[in-house]
Symmetry: C2
Subunit: 218 residues, 2 copies
Amino acid sequence: MDERYTFALRKIALLGGMDEYIAVSSRELGETLEMSQQSASKRILELLELRLIVRDLGARKQRIKLTAAGVDELKKEYNEYRRLFELTDHISLHGVVKDGMGEGQYYIDQEGYRKQFEEKLGFKPYPGTLNISVDKEDVGKLDVIKSTAGIYINGFTMGGRTFGDVIAYKAKIKNVDCAIVVPARSHYVDIIEVICKYHLRRTFSLNTDDRIDVKVSL
Amino acid sequence: MDERYTFALRKIALLGGMDEYIAVSSRELGETLEMSQQSASKRILELLELRLIVRDLGARKQRIKLTAAGVDELKKEYNEYRRLFELTDHISLHGVVKDGMGEGQYYIDQEGYRKQFEEKLGFKPYPGTLNISVDKEDVGKLDVIKSTAGIYINGFTMGGRTFGDVIAYKAKIKNVDCAIVVPARSHYVDIIEVICKYHLRRTFSLNTDDRIDVKVSL
DNA sequence: ATTACTAGTAGACGAGTAA
DNA sequence: TTTACTCGTCTACTAGTAA
């Protein structure tokens, strides 16, 4: 991907073209890209050809918008910047305590997981998980966390029931060692489950909807 | 700034050249930039000329590193991406309560600031500021906040003493309206001052080093 | 191996202009 | 006003090669 294209995409996005169609003449785009109207017009044609933008060529003024592919290009570059500026040795997730349905305990208690947690994490988890609803603005950080290695916990079958692979990431809540656990094959999640040697709710006197921070190690 | 340069800077940074000197031959750089050895060599000379990188030209292999100016260029672009992907209608700053030296009160009490606060923010600030040491990982967000408009508070001279321009940004702490205040011509800061109608320390029973979140509106 | 010069060239750009 | 064609220029690139 030529940086000329991502540059143009970024500037179009900054003009608002990521969410909806925006009216931008080739002259205007030329100004923001610091090039002539002719070159900007050509750039638009190139981006259209690459299917990075779509256009609604009205009578007076064209309206353009990034396609999903165009947004993906920008996300790719954004993630490069995150690697440069955000990742130190941990990522902080902010959120609020939520009620689990008790299914956390059911999973943790499974011998197939339990043994691996002890072996690979170095602590015997308290039976039950602390559920945290991650702030909307921090949900993207989960992608970054998932792009790192983590500790692979193999799934198993037990009495005809299948328990999938999960990945654990070592973490801390106020200096207490714990781990967040996510399904290996998971889509979008905004609730994380935290396991710990201690009963976290009791240890920190947490109530539902209390704010809490989790520092995930990388 | 030509996107060709920031592209090269970003790739060098991803190779580790943001923190320390890295050994990269012009051939290698050419590979990562998808260009010839000759062009990569030229690009390096250009970046050197612009003082965006520095070089230690050893006998066998050159070692290069981004300068502060080079890192700033990347930060600028990073902030553009943050605006695209992170910013909804607010930015959350996380940090801990710190002791001010009482100078907050001294400034707030100045009639020159006081009147403008009341007029432009819509509340009469409690005399005194809450100082918050922003988490290291959130300090970068201050740049993003500063890149937005904010509410300009003009400086003034009073008894031979000059009080500089400051910028206020409306914010909330746990749903209580407040504002963060930063000097208009400020360098790097990691402590923010919060003003509010109420005495925040008392209202929220805050002690020094307590964790706290501030939601800055955009 | 390196880095980086010179020379030649492909292509990106802008001016002029049509629709 | 728009968008976008053709065409001439100029520049950013690569190949060849020196040090």
